[in-house]
């Protein structure tokens, strides 16, 4: 049972990491244009910035 003491926190931490990652990507606008993003992946050139 001692394994639970560190396995569960680790599992929860990893889950929270995923959640935080999703919330970050949402905030940074990566879900604003799903159709466009699919096409951009196929572009060869670098973005003109």
């Amino acid at each position: 049972m001692t394994a639970l003491a560190w396995l569960i926190p680790v599992a929860l931490f990893l889950g929270l990491l995923g959640l935080a990652g999703f919330l970050w990507s949402l905030r940074s606008g990566q879900f604003d244009d799903l159709e466009g993003a699919a096409w951009r992946a196929l572009e060869d050139e670098d973005e003109p910035d």
């Binding site: 049972m1 639970l4 569960i8 599992a11 929860l12 889950g15 929270l16 995923g18 959640l19 999703f22 919330l23 949402l26 879900f31 604003d32 244009d33 799903l34 159709e35 466009g36 699919a38 096409w39 951009r40 196929l42 572009e43 003109p48 910035d49």
Partner: protein, 730 residues
């Protein structure tokens, strides 16, 4: 970005300043941007302009955000660059009407949090269930419950807000909505579980509460996404409609400004082939305009100094200047707006299917929950047991079908329509369309393409047609275009004559060795008074030939009418045009019930009379149709329609095919039957589980499993819509 605001569209010649600090951003709606290639062309065309520092296209929203230096280029340059690349674009009208309530991004955040919590708590719960009665000791079980509480409490507090807020607002207004039992179930289940956990009991419902929240949030999010998308499309349409106008400054210089920013009293120039951007009085220029969008009349009208012209009128023959008048002062537009406002009141009362169901459902859920609680108390059970069973009833009855399946069906239906160029402008339009049993068409621009077609082509000799089309190719007048099209069909190619001069209001002329040849009005071409022909060609020899025109029917108009009749819908034709023209069109398309010379108020009266027995679908494009569109139960307009008309319509379809109307009706009725099926599934599920829950046989495990299966079942059923559609497509 600076606070200094330049007037958009102004091309200034001031010396350049430090560019980086003076940047403005603008969002442009871009029509016909469909793929990655288009997106790249759009971004490339904009980035190539001097002064543009960044352009980023959004393919889903069909918009492009541009950061530019207003001193080095104006909005009109951006629009010009896009039009050069083949894209119609227009600055977004900043209505500033940010919708109150929860945005779809907020919902997605709640979905993510609830999803995370549901998955982790379910993991812990499954361990507890499988360990119960086995090798898991009470201490571990208690530890797992405490852990679940640790995850569930913040998650419920965060992700439940949309429901709590809405339920609170409803209670404040002394009403019940579906969010009241949902909030009650979630809060009671969480609170009760927390209490039981402290006592060390195994009656812990955290998993059920959070899973319930998760599924309901997914449904809400889908629903919100449909609304956001419909709203965005409607905004794009309006912005594209308004376009740019050429304003004349006091010093006589021209500048391009977005039409919605025009002020009364301003002078504007309308070029040949351009639509009049705002209502106004003609200051100079004599010519012909096409008022089809406003009056439904198919023949061009003559205008001269002092005449009033309305937004949406197409300039056919000569550039003219206008003095913009305030829309509110305009008799026609204010009359139409007033009619529309009155007509729309009836529609605001429409209640969505889900809301109507909730009206019956919400009290039933409360009564069942209360009855369970009271029943168990009377039977002598403790208050904890009674409350636990009451919560089980609330959870089991929670309306996943209402919350998830109806939005899922509507999203599937709307995406199908969007793909086919049919834009949904209001979220409940699909439901109302499914109820329609009578279709009323307008004529000009709806059944017809709103442009003339050469009628007596067979009577005209080849050489005359060739000569006339050579002249006509120089003009954008619809009659000239019709002659050119007829010539192309017969002769294959059209020679384009050089040195053609356009006489404003009269026609086209060209000097040849033998004399002058003319294409234009009867009098000018020396023709006899003959009402049947509206355009004449005078050969250099002085001999003249008349051309007769009728309106070009949409290619599939008759077929569409037959299909609609086949679907069991009644079809009528109401038009503001002459009786003769309407009769001919009705006979050609096979519509028995028609009426000509109908003014906007009569159209509304006619619709009101019909709506006593029928749910009327109105299809129209003209400004004169706008009030009728608003008055009808549901309305569709083509994308070529007037601005205000598209605003009034629930659906807007693109392209020449009228079959879009049939397609929209089919998808809507399919969506309706799928939604009803989902209600049936949900009812069956409740009929089985509610008695079990009331009797106290539903364990947390059973509640969670049953709820998930019913949710998945209704979603899968909803998704069938897109599959079925694809098989039916030709």
């Amino acid at each position: 970005m600076s606070l200094q605001t330049a007037i958009p569209g102004t091309v200034t010649t001031e010396p350049e300043m430090a560019a980086d600090l003076n940047e403005d951003t603008v969002s442009l709606a871009v029509e016909n941007m469909h793929c990655g290639g288009c997106m790249r062309t759009v971004e490339g065309a904009l980035s190539a302009l001097p002064g543009v520092s960044n352009a980023r296209a959004n393919l889903s929203a069909k918009r492009v955000g541009v950061r530019y230096d207003p001193l080095r280029c104006g909005v009109d340059d951006l629009v010009g660059a896009l039009s050069g690349a083949g894209f119609k674009a227009s600055p977004m009208q900043s209505g500033g009407e940010k919708e109150a309530g929860t945005s779809d991004r907020d919902y997605l955040r709640c979905v993510a949090v609830a999803g995370f919590a549901a998955a982790n708590i379910m993991l812990l719960s499954v361990s507890v269930w499988s360990g119960a009665g086995g090798d898991m000791d009470a201490a571990t079980q208690d530890f797992f419950h405490r852990l679940s509480a640790l995850i569930a409490l913040p998650a419920v507090a965060y992700a439940g807000r949309p429901f709590f807020r809405s339920a609170f607002d409803a209670l404040k207004a002394r009403r019940l909505n579906m969010d009241v039992p949902i909030s009650l179930a979630v809060i009671l289940a969480t609170g009760m579980s927390f209490f039981q956990m402290l006592k060390g009991s195994d009656q812990v419902y955290f998993d059920a509460a959070v899973t319930l929240l998760f599924f309901l949030l997914v449904g809400r999010w889908l629903d919100q996404r449909l609304r956001t998308r419909a709203q965005g499309e409607a905004q794009n349409l309006l912005s594209l409609q308004s376009g740019l106008a050429t304003a004349i400054s006091a010093d006589g210089s021209h500048r391009r400004v977005p039409a919605h920013m025009l002020e009364p009293g301003e002078r504007i120039l309308v070029a040949i082939g351009e639509r009049v951007p705002a209502d106004g009085i003609v200051l100079s220029g004599n010519g012909e305009v096409d008022q089809g969008l406003i009056t439904g009349e198919s023949a061009p009208a003559a205008i001269s100094k002092g005449d009033a012209v309305y937004a949406g009128t197409l300039n056919l023959s000569t550039p003219f200047t206008l003095s913009v008048t305030a829309a509110a002062d305009m008799t026609l537009l204010s009359e139409i707006s007033r009619l529309m406002a009155n007509a729309e009141q009836g529609r605001a009362a429409y209640r969505r299917l889900a809301d109507r169901a909730a009206q019956i459902y919400a009290p039933a859920v409360h009564i069942l929950g209360a009855a369970t609680f009271a029943g168990w108390l009377i039977l002598g059970a403790g208050w904890e047991t009674a409350l636990t069973h009451a919560i089980a009833v609330l959870i089991v009855t929670c309306p996943c079908a209402l919350a998830l399946a109806v939005p899922a069906v509507q999203i599937a239906a709307a995406s199908r329509l969007f793909r086919e160029g049919i834009i949904l402008k209001t979220a409940d339009a699909l439901e109302r369309l499914a109820e329609a049993d009578w279709v009323v068409f307008d004529k000009t621009g709806t059944l017809t393409l709103g442009r003339p077609m050469l009628l007596n082509a067979d009577e005209i000799p080849d050489d005359i047609l060739a000569a006339a089309s050579a002249l006509g190719a120089a003009s954008t007048h619809p009659y000239s275009k019709a002659v050119v099209e007829a010539a192309k069909n017969r002769l294959g190619t059209v020679r384009i004559a050089g040195d053609v001069t356009e006489m404003p209001g009269e026609g086209l002329a060209r000097k040849t060795a033998e004399g002058e040849e003319r294409l234009g009005s009867p009098g000018w071409c020396g023709a006899r008074e003959d009402m049947s022909a509206s355009l004449w060609y005078r050969a250099p020899t002085g001999e003249s030939v008349g051309f007769q025109f009728s309106e070009a029917l949409r290619p599939d108009a008759s077929e569409t009418v037959q299909q609609l009749k086949g679907l069991g819908l009644g079809v009528s034709l109401l038009s503001g045009d002459r009786e003769g023209a309407v009769k001919a069109m009705a006979e050609e398309t096979g519509i028995g019930d028609w009426k000509g010379k109908v003014n906007p108020a009569d159209k509304i009266a006619d619709l009101k009379r019909r709506s006593r027995e029928h749910k009327v679908l109105m299809v129209g494009d003209g400004l004169n149709d706008a009030p009728a569109l608003a008055a009808a139960h549901i309305s569709i307009s083509p994308a070529s329609a007037a601005d205000i008309t598209q605003r009034a319509a629930d659906f807007v379809f693109q392209g020449e095919k009228l079959a879009s109307v049939v397609e929209a009706i089919k998808v809507a009725s399919r969506a309706h039957s799928l939604a009803l099926q989902n209600f049936a599934i949900a009812l069956t599920y409740n009929a089985v589980f509610v008695p079990l829950a009331m009797a106290g046989y539903v364990t947390p495990l059973l509640a969670a499993i049953a709820m998930s299966t019913s949710s998945i079942l209704v979603t899968v059923n909803a998704v069938r819509l897109s599959g079925l559609g694809r098989q039916e497509a030709p």
